[in-house]
Symmetry: C2
Subunit: 432 residues, 2 copies
């Protein structure tokens, strides 16, 4: 048994986990009831106070993080993983500002979404209310503790956070600041709870607590999402894959196509809105593709294509069937020649992940056909797929991007963390 | 082997069911893609044509129904079940008119829910789109075949209908009329499919087809819903129970309380919006409760209550703990004395099913507190809980009432059978 394993084993005994998780859930549910009618100002005060606590405790946060970093190095985490895990003054300041930004968002709770009168005099209002209790299961980035807790709080939900085991001490230290913020604002401390054990049994139990948790938001790689999907009895707001496409149409402006494709692929290759496949009309392959390939290869991108694409540019490697359904999250792009808008849409529906797709065209009719036919959460004309982001959409912070169709779709900000109820006001009406 | 069982066995061989259901699903998905951009007029034309076919084929429908009725009698169905199963000229006419009513509803698809510009010039629109493929699993009422198929079609969704085995022939005959309507209007016939076998294995397969079906709507009794909930890998819009409460507050008008409670309980006892528990403030138990009990008992309702309720009226029988969590769907009501609005809300949150609750009060502050604190889908002031209905809300027909919190909540009409996507229009923007 390594030291790390011993620590896990001594945190909470395995047999005590179901009861512990049930208690967390029950406390969250009670807190959610209070939060559902808590004034906006109290929620904002808690967020601002927590931001202050993060700043005041930055040395302690970095000490906690140093423990995680040392354990991570010992465990042989990759450099990229260690970078995601690391906290420094700048990142702590960014987290604190993130909380203040969420405090500055308008409160979705209580918003009257629609209101109408019935002929019998009943007045019906559809009013936004919190979802209740949201479970968030994430991997190594410790800042998710602050972001997710804050977004749920702002939308009036209680949260149960389950961070990655690598960031255990960092998340605990951040969570302590959030709890102090809640206490300062007179809100229940159980409004934001952190699962106090790294034992995976806690996640297993969490995913069965249908009476106590309303939604689970899993944040992480595909394997985490797939595991949680298979196991969860609770609905998920999840993001499985971003196999995004950019289609360069017959009447695309060549300069725009060149600039947008380069940005869509290479601005950041590791985000879900990065284009993974370029589709292109046969009539512009010869003219438009080589300059695009020029830019991509100059930027260090590997280009793989079908026969017709390769015929137009010898730098293109051969793509296999598997490429069309692959989310590279890397400096690789696949290129397929398609016979027009409809063929582009068919390719997208066959291989895509319903995330974000774009068409580059000067033809309004083609643009509208693409916008209407593509079934993805986000469909763009003449813009980079990298705009698929809650901040870029003007929604403020997001807890993630949902590739599901139900309830939350696309960027999930505070509004999508709510549901609604009907308030009906009468004067003694009876139904005939 | 009875004749009925032989019929089942010879319809489709058990081993062919997975492939059959997969084909239904794939056909539905293809049809859904067409429907998502089908013009409103085509959908309405299909509905009106189907209504005409129902009327023209009423003799054939009644013949098919006679087969089901005979089998049902042989099988020993109760009188109530046989009544739900029966078709006659009036019921066929009502079904046809139902289709025409749905044709007359406005089309939710394509509605721009919100639209805004970003500082970088991107224009973002949130547009209503169909969900895709909806599976509907129901019990004996054959009219659900027409209603559910029509609501899904109007909202641009393809449907896979799985009717109760008792109404097998009736549903097939109704379905044939819907398909003729689709054909007349030039829409894909697979837009509304009926599972062509009574074998329960078809349902089992259906509930695993996550790639082909977007939502399952189970309609039926609690045991059906529980079975489907346990088994389904696909999200459900479901209605589990309606344990509805009416709370008579300290400053309730006694005449209004009397009239509304009687209606809320006794107008129809078998619907989900019927009040099952009466809560009452201690200060008005002596004055308000006896006249209410008077009316209820005169209407044939059994009244069960706690000690304090029974002290006020000797006609009240003793309620057990179990009564508070029971959906009677019958002429029985339970009565509990609670200390005020907050105690009423606590009782509702402890025993209720998040369906519909009402307060009877002249005190605006108490009313607002009740409206805000109660977490149910529908919260009413001074009105009968029996108004919990899509038609009464002005939404037109409903496929059911959802007691879940996600996506669909309360009455589920055409609008709630849709989702949305973002359409983003740019001029070559790249993300910095």
């Amino acid at each position: 048994m390594t030291i790390a394993e011993q620590t896990v084993a001594t945190e909470v005994a395995r047999e005590d986990i179901p009861e512990l998780m049930h208690r967390l859930g029950a406390d969250a549910k009670a807190a959610a009831e209070t939060l559902s009618t808590s004034p906006t100002e109290a929620k904002n005060a808690a967020l601002r106070a927590a931001a202050g606590r993060l700043r005041a405790n930055r040395t302690a946060l970095m000490d906690a993080n140093a423990q995680d970093m040392a354990a991570g190095e010992q465990k042989g985490l990759t450099k990229a993983m260690l970078d995601r895990l690391a906290l420094n003054e700048d990142r702590i300041e960014a987290m604190a500002r993130g909380l203040e930004d969420i405090a500055a968002l308008s409160d979705p709770v209580g918003e009257i979404m629609a209101e109408w009168d019935r002929p019998n005099g009943l007045r019906i209002a559809r009013v936004r209310v919190p979802l209740g209790v949201i479970g968030v299961i994430y991997e190594s980035r410790p800042n998710v503790t602050a972001d997710a807790g804050a977004l749920c709080l702002k939308s009036g939900n209680a949260t149960i956070l389950r961070g990655g085991s690598e960031s255990f001490h960092s998340s605990r230290a951040i969570h302590a600041c959030l709890v102090e913020g809640l206490r300062d604002a007179g809100l229940p401390e159980a409004a934001i709870q952190l699962v106090p054990t790294r034992d995976r049994a806690a996640v297993g139990k969490m995913l069965t607590m249908t009476d106590l948790i309303d939604v689970i938001v899993p944040r992480g790689g595909k394997s985490l999402i797939e595991r949680i999907t298979a196991e969860s009895k609770i609905p998920l707001f999840k993001h499985l894959e971003g196999i995004c496409h950019t289609y360069v149409d017959r009447v695309a402006d060549p300069e725009m196509a060149r600039k947008v494709v380069l940005n869509a692929k290479m601005r950041r290759t590791g985000i879900c809105g990065a284009t993974e496949t370029l589709l292109i009309h046969p009539e512009v392959v010869a003219s438009h593709l080589p300059p695009i390939v020029e830019d991509l290869t100059a930027a260090g991108c590997e280009v793989r294509g079908d026969e017709r694409a390769r015929a137009a540019d010898s730098r293109i490697l051969s793509a296999s069937e598997e490429d069309w359904g692959t989310e590279y999250l890397d400096a690789i792009i696949s290129v397929a020649v398609v016979e027009g808008v409809d063929a582009a849409v068919d390719h997208i529906h066959r291989y895509g992940s319903q995330h974000t797709e774009a068409i580059i065209t000067e033809d309004t009719e083609a643009a509208e056909r693409f916008l209407n036919r593509v079934g993805s959460a986000i469909v763009m004309v003449n813009a980079s797929t990298q705009f698929a982001d809650g901040g870029e959409f003007g929604m403020g912070a997001e807890i993630g991007i949902s590739t599901g169709k139900l309830h939350a779709r696309g960027p999930v900000g505070v509004e999508q963390l709510t549901t609604f109820k009907y308030q009906v006001r009468g004067a003694g009406q009876c139904r005939p």
